[in-house]
Amino acid sequence: MKVNIKAKIIKKEKLKDDIYKFEVQAKEIVNSAQAGQFIEIRVLDNIQPLLRRPISIYNINKERGTLEFIFQVKGKGTNILAKREIGEELDIIGPLGYGTFEVKDYEKVAIIGGGIGIFPLYELSKELKNNTTTKINMYLGFRNKEYVLLEEEFKNVSDKLIITTDDGTYKIKGFAIDELKKDIEKEKIDKIFACGPLPMLKAVQDLAKEKNIQCEISLEEKMACGLGVCLGCAVKTASSSKEAPQYWHVCKAGPVFNANDVEI
């Protein structure tokens, strides 16, 4: 059930110059939150910036009743959010989104993420690891060595962790998708989960189609309400024709979609 709460910040970590991890007390949200969902944060009790910021959930900590989220400072809103301090309360609505990652027993899955999109995959992998018999291959792509974050954490929730950097300053040089492609030739993967930049998601979508593997992708689009009323966060349905496009909404049908259902 969605709630609007004041969530106390109990931990704040600067992972990189522009990437922060917050832990907030959010028992009411944690109770029903699922892997793949997001929250909407009002960074200040003010009309400037006007809208909430949608941010993915990194970790749902049921025992502690806390949520962790990781965000990149990109504009005015995230800049202000980064300046909020431990002990302060954040106005949060959540958990949001109806399309969530499907956590169940698989033989072996591939989880692939790129850039800031890797973080929502942590909760998914953690749940698969803890609650199912699934074997987990994880492919994470980063810009460079500097931006390889939480490697240990991701290692702990996967069976095989492949890290790539665009410039080769750490582990494998290249893109995560290319490593996944190699493994798919050798290993039987029965599901792919993906979150990251659009070109990566497109490549994953194509690969899953070509190999006939089930695939879930997490999408983002500019949104105002996050509740399903503003209809801002539109994404084209796969069955759309050029003349008469049809749309899903990221906050309603997503943010996690079956890759066959969307045109990206």
């Binding site: 809208l51 966060c233 749309y247």
Partner: protein
């Protein structure tokens, strides 16, 4: 203390409604607030047939406001009748259906359907800036508004409120068109046409290039227009544009609005409309106002 008002023949428990396009058909907000506490709900703009809307990105934040170019995406009136109206009927609040069309015939056909429904009123949308045909095309002139409104009036017995666009030189002209055609009220303002450019890509932020500006940024424009219309027409006004608090609502009421709508404010917090209801009551207590009707249009100009 009396907060009830009669807007265009619709008796509401308080002057607070929620604006079309910012509240869906109520369902999403019922999870957060008690819909029985608001005077009325102006539904998402509804057309005769389903509409799929515009290409994304459809929204972009601007200083104290936002641009949208949704393009009236909605499931159509038939879907509304079967799915949303029965839900809305469970609450003690007035249902005002925002009606939009691409041609006069479509407005008339839609009005015929709406006339048969158990709803409290119709808000005729002659002001959406985001669709190519219809809507704002009819809404900018006295004659245009009068023509569509008269034709709808002939087939609609329910209270008829005409929603006006601010994208005009003189807001009084279309308001008079609505009044002369027999509308029971006018609502203003819809969004102001705007544009925002991504300087890195050198392209507009919205896929549709331009969109409607809403939010607190437009409030002074809206208050001014409500005042001007109130001075020149006799039918009641539903005022909106950037209302996020009781104080904002009182400004509109003093300018001449009988009732108000909370629009973009619903996106900031799901309980904004409830805060506005409470804020109006606090203002009334503070100034010993027994009846909200006593202060409608009572601004004293300098």
């Amino acid at each position: 203390m009396n907060t009830s008002v009669n807007l265009a023949g619709i008796n509401m428990k308080n002057p607070v409604t929620v604006a079309s396009g910012t509240f869906g058909y109520g369902r999403e907000f019922a999870e957060f607030i008690d819909l029985n506490k608001i005077g009325g709900i102006c539904t998402k703009g509804t057309s005769l047939k389903p509409r799929s809307g515009n290409k994304p990105p459809r929204v972009y934040e601007t200083p104290a406001g936002m641009l949208n170019s949704i393009g009236l995406q909605n499931p159509g009136v038939e879907y509304f009748m079967e799915n949303d109206l029965p839900f809305l009927k469970k609450f003690d609040t007035k249902i005002i259906v925002n009606a939009c069309g691409s041609s006069i015939d479509e407005y008339v056909e839609l009005a015929k359907v709406l006339n048969t429904l158990d709803i409290d009123g119709v808000e005729l949308n002659l002001s959406c800036p985001n669709v190519k045909a219809g809507c704002m095309a009819f809404g900018t002139t006295y004659e245009g508004v009068k023509e569509v409104t008269s034709k709808v009036r002939k087939v609609l017995d329910k209270p008829l409120i005409v929603k006006l666009t601010p994208n005009v030189t003189n807001i009084v002209d279309p308001a008079k068109g609505a009044e002369d055609a027999g509308a029971d009220g006018v609502s203003l303002i819809n969004t102001l046409l705007g544009m925002s450019i991504d300087i890195h890509k050198r392209r507009p932020h919205l896929a549709n290039n331009m969109g409607g500006l809403s939010g607190p940024a437009i409030k002074p424009v809206a208050v001014r227009m409500v005042y001007q219309v109130a001075q020149n027409v006799k039918i009641p006004i539903l005022g909106l544009g950037g209302i996020v608090s009781g104080e904002d609502a009182i400004e509109f009421i003093l300018a001449g609005a009988t009732a108000i709508s909370v629009g973009t404010g619903n996106f900031i917090a799901p309980d904004t409309c409830i805060k506005v209801v409470n804020g109006i009551e606090e203002y009334m207590k503070k100034y010993n106002i027994e009846d909200i009707n006593n202060i409608i249009g009572t601004v004293q100009m300098n």
